[in-house]
């Protein structure tokens, strides 16, 4: 096993991690501020991917596709928030789960209705295709490097937004005390719509970016959604920092586990058994990670102490 392979896999893990962060950040923000568990967040990821695929196929411009992914997901988020979600803030988690599960059904089957069951493809633009030579002579896909960069820039942007801007102050106030923020004269329902749309846009962006390296199809959002839940459980609900750390941990564990666990087992058993046992275990590795964090810290790495 060479150092090149290890570095490649670490980069793959980072890339998966930052994309997960885009999902998890929105989810954790929405839960932290509005107290809402949103199962339909994966649908917004899908909306972003479909919008990007459709627009870039029609115009030939990848960037235009990205912009429309952001716009479509944010718009879908805002509309859903105003029609359905805002009636759920005062409800218990069970109602939130059900209503957002219903939204998944509507989004998924509605998209299947419009686009059919066959996957769409979103091409990587020419200026980002091909490999880049990294220090040390490693060739790594330029597009994946770009994903890592975008993810880090968005993470930084979110940090600035929340720590340094007026909107951020309101968001933080909203987490702590809804009545206080209302007393400050902020239109709370507009603030909530805005936050929901922001989270949706992040999910849509992730869907579009990942859509170019996987296929764009109905049901693509839910596996990512569940991984994002694992991220949030590990990081602590409501914490953007926790979402970032958790996302990188999950991305790295998932990627590296899949490659290295079968290798590890080859030391103990024959290659065929090692491959199958290792693969089975690798598919469980992030959940084992989650269990360990839970045993150690039931409210996550950066969650509020119970």
């Amino acid at each position: 096993m060479s150092a090149v392979l290890v570095i490649e896999q670490v980069l793959n893990g980072l890339q998966a991690g930052v994309m997960l962060f885009l999902m998890a950040a929105g989810l954790t923000l929405i839960f932290g501020v509005m107290g809402l568990i949103n199962l339909a967040h994966g649908s917004l990821y899908m909306v972003g991917a479909f919008a990007a695929a459709a627009v870039s196929a029609a115009t030939g411009s990848f960037l235009l596709g990205l912009v429309s992914a952001l716009a479509a997901a944010a718009l879908a988020g805002a509309v859903v928030e105003m029609l359905v979600i805002r009636r759920l803030y005062a409800s218990d988690h069970l109602d939130q789960v059900l209503a957002t599960f219903a939204l998944i059904l509507i989004f998924s089957e509605g998209t299947r209705w419009l686009y059919g069951s066959f996957p769409l493809y979103l091409d990587i633009p020419a200026w980002l295709s091909g490999p880049t030579r990294l220090p040390g002579g490693i060739l790594y896909p330029t597009y994946r490097l770009a994903l890592i960069a975008v993810g880090l820039v968005v993470a930084l942007g979110l940090w600035v937004l929340i720590e340094r801007t007026r909107l951020g102050i309101r968001i933080r106030a909203g987490e702590n005390d809804r009545e206080m923020i209302a007393a400050l004269g902020v239109d709370i329902s507009r603030l909530y719509t805005l936050i929901f749309a922001l989270g949706a846009a992040l999910a849509g962006l992730a869907g579009a970016l990942v859509g170019a390296i996987q296929s764009v199809q109905v049901g693509m959002g839910e596996p990512v959604l569940i991984l994002a839940f694992v991220v949030i459980v590990i990081g602590g609900i409501g914490s953007i920092r926790g979402a970032f750390v958790g996302a990188l941990l999950v991305g790295l564990t998932d990627t590296l586990g899949g490659i290295f666990l079968p290798e590890l087992f080859k030391f103990f058993t024959d290659p065929a058994t090692a491959q199958s046992v290792g693969a089975s275990l690798a598919s469980m590795s992030i959940y084992i990670l989650m269990s360990l964090v839970l045993i150690w810290r039931p409210t996550g790495l950066f969650g509020a102490r119970a």
Partner: protein, 327 residues
């Protein structure tokens, strides 16, 4: 408005009546639909124990459904191939006997529920939902990668397993077996709900602090409910696999977990026959709407949204006129 007791009799009688009528008119497909509803009702009654009485919003109950299914699949598969199941030094013979398969399904799913419950109950609220969902996904991917038993493609079983004295291949006989099990599970549920355990669990859902101060551990009560709940759903999984003579990772899918919750809510949470009403409605919708349009899930989603936003007691609550027993 109809009294709930009468409504329960009506629901069960209706289910039985549909199957008997279909048998008389020689419509085996309708009997299969009724059997499907019956099995889903057992699974959802299991969930209703954790969700309705214990207030545990488990979005991972497909784990137990799938384990029950795979318990059946694996035992029957080994009976087909005449090779024992090897568990380290232990070798277990495969079997096609339903009672043995049921016991295995119940044992395996309770054990899984114990472990998952111990871990998940360290937290509560929205964490609990996410964690149970994540464990469901873990079993899903494990089943997908477990190539010995079909991996992603699943496992077909060519015979229906046997029950002493019955011809289980006869649709109405298999239906009757499932129906009797449903009734037994419902009796167990209603006894539990009124027992001291049910009283304590009910209080643990509403005011855990109070339960602690009278010297009981709310988490242990909830854990016990979760294990019982998983056992019942596991039994349903074994029956479901027998109905289809097929198991696949989709029995572990998060969609199935979601649908189980939907069954409970459609019918009415924490009501004895809520899951029965929910399962009957669900199968009927699936059949009728599914016949009208390929995209019937859109309409299911819309109905569900309306129920969550406007009719909180579910179907049984709507008909019996009693408001939701809790929110």
């Amino acid at each position: 408005m109809i009294p709930e007791r009468f409504l329960n009799a009506l629901l069960l009688g209706g289910l039985l009546g549909v199957a008997l009528l279909a048998d008389w008119r020689d419509e085996p497909f309708t009997i299969t639909l009724a059997t499907r509803a019956t099995i889903l009702a057992i699974a959802a009654t299991g969930l209703n124990l954790a969700l309705g009485l214990g207030g545990l919003v488990s979005l991972g109950h497909a784990v137990f459904f799938g384990l029950g299914g795979y318990a059946m699949g694996i035992l029957a598969f080994h009976a087909q191939t005449y090779a024992p199941v090897e568990l380290g030094p232990l070798a277990i013979e495969g079997t096609t006997s339903m009672p043995l398969i049921w016991v295995t399904a119940i044992a395996v799913s309770s054990l899984a529920a114990l472990v998952i419950g111990l871990l998940s109950l360290r937290t509560s609220g929205v964490y609990f939902i996410m964690i149970t969902l994540a464990f469901g996904q873990m079993f899903f991917y494990f089943a997908v990668s477990w190539s010995a038993y079909g991996g992603e493609d699943g496992l077909s079983i060519y015979v229906r397993n046997g029950f002493p004295g019955l011809n289980t291949l006869d649709p109405i006989q298999f239906f009757s077996l499932c129906f009797v099990l449903l009734c037994l599970v419902l009796v167990l549920w209603s006894r539990l709900a009124r027992s001291p355990f049910g009283l304590a669990l009910n209080a643990a859902r509403q005011v855990p602090a109070r339960v602690e101060t009278v010297g009981l551990d709310p988490k242990r009560l909830k854990l016990a409910a979760f294990v019982l709940s998983g056992a019942i759903t596991g039994l349903a999984g074994a029956l479901f696999a027998d109905l289809n003579r097929f198991v696949s990772p989709s029995m572990f899918s998060w969609q199935l977990s979601g649908e189980l919750i939907v069954l409970v809510i459609l019918g009415g949470v924490a009501r004895l026959c809520g899951p029965v009403a929910g399962a009957m409605l669900f199968v009927a919708l699936e059949h009728w709407l599914g016949g009208l349009t390929e995209f019937w899930h859109v309409w299911l989603g819309a109905i569900l949204l309306l129920i969550v936003l406007f009719a909180k007691g579910g179907l049984v609550g709507l008909l019996s006129g009693r408001p939701a027993s809790h929110d």
